[in-house]
Subunit: 132 residues, 2 copies
């Protein structure tokens, strides 16, 4: 097994993007996982809600999906007599998110190597990946 | 209006990824649009089906969504007494796909600038964006 099967295209169906794991690919969950990655360890539910512009209900629902998929740990703690929910990425979540990012890279790379490249303003693509 | 509103993060909710247009973000449709981008002009339904590993029914359903969203043109032509369906990206589809790609870039960029970076093997990220 490769470390990044998700990034290896299927020669017969190069645009099937099999590695685009649906649990991660859903828009809101992608934002939640990106937030957890950017903020490292435990992140408060209230902060995650703000970063992703989600309602309590939506964030709860998506966190449950991510927790059941083994991508996220959720913990409750009491401080100043108030209960706080905290979340973080699991080791497995980290590994699968990296694989997923490899597929996103391939999608942008496929476009970069197509005639669409001519249509892409300099700042539109490449920007996020500058060495700086 | 910016040329790439989709790539401009909302300071209040940087991980909401508002520009991640759902019509384009759906896994199968993302593969269809990438195929059309990579193959330029008109692409045969049968070829698109193979490239994306989709069934006739699924490809038809997704093409209808993309056509109704103004992203794709679908045309039927008869050759050798057989009817062929051909598809291509519209100018508008091209523009919106480029915007969408800008958001994918930002997602990978957000991860690259996080502590996840240390966990990412050299080949996992950056590869698709080499100048070569």
């Amino acid at each position: 097994m490769s470390d990044h099967p998700a990034t290896t295209p299927d020669a017969a169906a190069p645009f099937a993007y099999e590695g685009l794991e649906r649990v991660i690919h859903e828009k809101a969950r992608l934002g939640i996982l990106s937030s957890l990655v950017a903020h490292g360890e435990w992140l408060a539910f209230s902060e995650l809600k703000r970063l992703c512009a989600l309602t309590d209900g939506n964030l709860n629902r998506h966190l449950q999906v991510l927790q059941e998929a083994g991508l996220v740990d959720v913990r409750k703690e009491v401080a100043n007599k108030r209960s706080h929910t905290l979340c973080r990425l699991t080791i497995e979540g980290r590994r699968r998110f990296v694989e997923y990012l490899g597929v996103l890279e391939r999608i942008v790379g496929d476009a970069l190597h197509s005639r669409l490249r001519d249509a892409i303003p300099g700042r539109a693509l490449g920007q996020g990946f500058s060495p700086a």
